[in-house]
């Protein structure tokens, strides 16, 4: 089911508008991440999709049906809460069966379907345990199975991985991907971790201050950020930001450019036909597979992942250099222009 927002806003009772003119369409059958810092509006957006919150203005569509005034149950969404919200007094099987029991599905049908779902999320050997006896990852799986039990129109996951330790997080994000692809249900998940979103999502919506910053595939978000916020939020290590004035003697920059962002991997050993910056090496470190060097360029520090020994000049790879104006909007750079 594709989900469409038409000029949706949300204003809290105290008069503060927290979401501004949300206008987007989430394609059917894809895994979509809502990414942004806390307070950016991503959980609020999720709750608007779920129907737990009502839009102040604008319209929400599921497919061709307008659902703006419908509640969560009528919209038929499945939701996995951050703390999983499993019923602690019920066994795993009873938890998964519960939505179907409420929908008065025949007993043998619902038990069979619950077992199939448990198998899908790989908790079929835990059916008679209580949630308290399961690990965080297993509880997460049960919560997903319960949400899938009613054939949801959309599956919503609120910070699904934040309660797990680092290793489990990597495992579970792959699991969410696998389960989403196996069921084909349109899935929306909220996260503040860019690498999580980058690894599993088909499309990522970056939200900040209740405004959509960019809605794109992970790769184009990284390679083609529309504004300074997205460039800064996506990528690890964080993009280097240097005032345009310091770079104008080395690069041809648009007149209104204020800041230039340089991806760490765009700073390389000198090559022909590429802009060159004079630098001094400050520190070069290796962390297992990863390398990181801190270079000094005038008054500014640049972090790079490509330099492995002390150098006095570096080249810039133009695919990783972005110019932004005072408002943080991306400006095109004319690479064929002459140096001033």
């Amino acid at each position: 089911m594709n989900v469409r927002f038409e000029h949706v806003t949300l204003t809290y009772n105290n008069g503060v508008e927290v979401l501004h003119d949300m206008d987007f369409e989430l394609p059917d059958g894809e895994l979509i991440a809502l990414l942004g810092p806390s307070g950016g509006g991503k959980s609020t957006t999720l709750n608007l999709v779920s129907g737990l919150l009502r839009a102040t203005t604008g319209k929400i569509f599921f497919g061709d049906d307008e659902v703006t005034e419908k509640d969560a149950l009528q919209r038929g969404v499945g939701m996995v809460f951050q703390n999983y919200a499993l019923y602690p007094h019920m066994t795993v099987l009873e938890n998964i069966v519960f939505p179907m029991k409420m929908a008065k599905v025949a007993k043998d049908v619902r038990n069979e379907r619950a077992r199939a779902l448990a198998k899908l999320v790989r908790v079929d050997d835990q059916l008679n345990k209580k949630p308290g006896a399961l690990s965080g990852g297993q509880q997460q799986r049960v919560a997903i199975a319960r949400a899938l039990a009613k054939n949801p129109s959309v599956l919503l996951l609120d910070e699904p991985l934040s309660n797990l330790d680092a290793r489990l997080r990597v495992e579970m994000r792959e699991e969410i991907r696998r389960i989403q692809q196996a069921t084909g249900v349109t899935t929306i998940f909220v996260t503040h971790d860019q690498s999580e979103a980058m690894h599993v999502a088909d499309k990522i919506m970056v939200l900040n201050d209740g405004v959509i910053q960019q809605f794109d595939s992970p790769q184009s978000l990284y390679q083609n950020p529309q504004n300074q916020f997205v460039a800064r939020f996506i990528g690890e290590p964080v993009i280097n930001e240097v005032p345009a004035t310091a770079l104008r003697e080395h690069l041809v920059l648009p007149a209104t450019a204020v800041t230039v962002g340089i991806r760490p991997e765009a700073i390389k050993s000198p090559v022909m036909d590429a802009p060159v910056l004079p630098v001094t090496a400050e520190r070069i470190q290796a962390f297992g597979r990863d390398r990181q060097a801190t270079l000094r360029f005038g008054d500014y520090r640049l972090v790079t992942t490509e330099i492995i020994e002390a150098v006095d000049q570096v080249s810039l790879d133009k695919t990783g250099v972005y110019a932004f104006n005072a408002a943080g909007e991306r400006l095109p750079i004319d690479w064929d222009g002459k140096r001033v």
Binding site: M79, A85, Y87, H89, P99, K150
Partner: protein, 298 residues
């Protein structure tokens, strides 16, 4: 001191020294009276003032077995417990659930419901004596509106027990409501959201989420209410002016014990009836414990 060596006799003696003051108090005021009253129930010929025991045996229990008054007391106690506990639990849970829903005035209502708990039983009973009054009472006045003829609550043997039960329920509500409110507040709101999304209506959410989640508190409240109700005495004494109701209609086991001890000076009999009451409470509480294993979710 952190070590894994075995404590020596010296260490044990030292520990005992620290514990001794408390042990003496507990022993003197808790353990000794329990053992003494148990022993006293077997004294068949006993001088209370000289503490001289002339004969022991099972005669006290035999007497109780044959005493019609004691049978009545046991029966009345059971009627009282069965009449009070379920209604009190259901009513206080219902009121607590409602209080949990409202935002305004919840504090005021909570205080109002809690008042009976902090007020003296004697004072409460005075007010209820007026409420139950046949000619000038509030209850008959209100019942008059629905066409019920005046009932002589306190002097009619048929109505004395219901009157006592109503008073006891009302008195117990406040504290139980408070306990239920605590339990209701501790239920994770997300569970209700999840249940709502799972298609449970408000009654189903109450049945499948609230009830299991607060079951430990319900268990505590029930055990407490059962034990308290088995031991009912002061309400009777105050409500019926030092009588066990008209025609012994509210004679309970503890009231019987009181009569034997203070009015008839049959100390052995009083102690024996106390032991019987203890066994009754023990059986019921063990049953509750057994039942809770299956139905209480911690």
């Amino acid at each position: 001191m952190m070590n894994n060596t075995k404590p020596t006799w010296r260490d044990n003696l030292k520990a005992l020294g620290y514990l001794l003051p408390m042990l003496i108090i507990v022993g003197m005021f808790s353990l000794y009276p329990i053992i003494k009253s148990l022993a006293m129930s077997f004294y068949t010929d006993y001088n209370f003032f000289t503490n001289q025991v002339n004969a022991i045996g099972f005669d006290n229990f035999k007497t109780l077995w044959q005493d019609a008054n004691f049978h009545l007391a046991v029966w009345n106690t059971i009627v009282f417990v069965v009449g009070v506990v379920p209604v009190e639990i259901i009513l206080s849970l219902a009121i607590a659930s409602l209080l949990n829903q409202i935002n305004r005035l919840a504090g005021l209502f909570r205080t109002l419901y809690f008042m009976p708990f902090v007020t003296s039983v004697v004072a409460i009973s005075m007010v209820w004596r007026w409420i139950y009054n046949k000619d000038a009472g509030l209850l008959n006045y209100l019942l008059g509106f629905v066409g019920v003829h005046p009932i002589d609550w306190l002097n009619d043997p048929h109505y004395a027990m219901p009157a006592l039960i109503i008073l006891a329920i009302w008195k117990g509500l406040g504290f139980n409501i408070l306990l239920f409110l605590v339990a209701l507040n501790n239920v994770d709101q997300r569970l209700y959201d999840a249940a709502m999304l799972d298609g449970a209506n408000s009654w189903q959410r109450f049945w499948h989420v609230t009830l299991p989640m607060i079951s430990p508190m319900t268990f505590l409240v029930t055990v407490n209410a059962v034990i308290g109700s088995f031991k009912v005495f002061d309400e009777i004494f105050a409500l019926f002016g030092g009588q066990p109701g008209p025609g012994h209609s509210t004679l309970t086991v503890v009231y019987y014990l009181y009569q034997m001890f203070y009015e008839q000076n049959k100390y052995g009999l009083a102690a024996a009836s106390g032991v019987v009451l203890f066994l009754m409470i023990l059986v019921v509480t063990l049953f509750q414990l057994w039942w809770s294993k299956k139905h209480v979710h911690y």
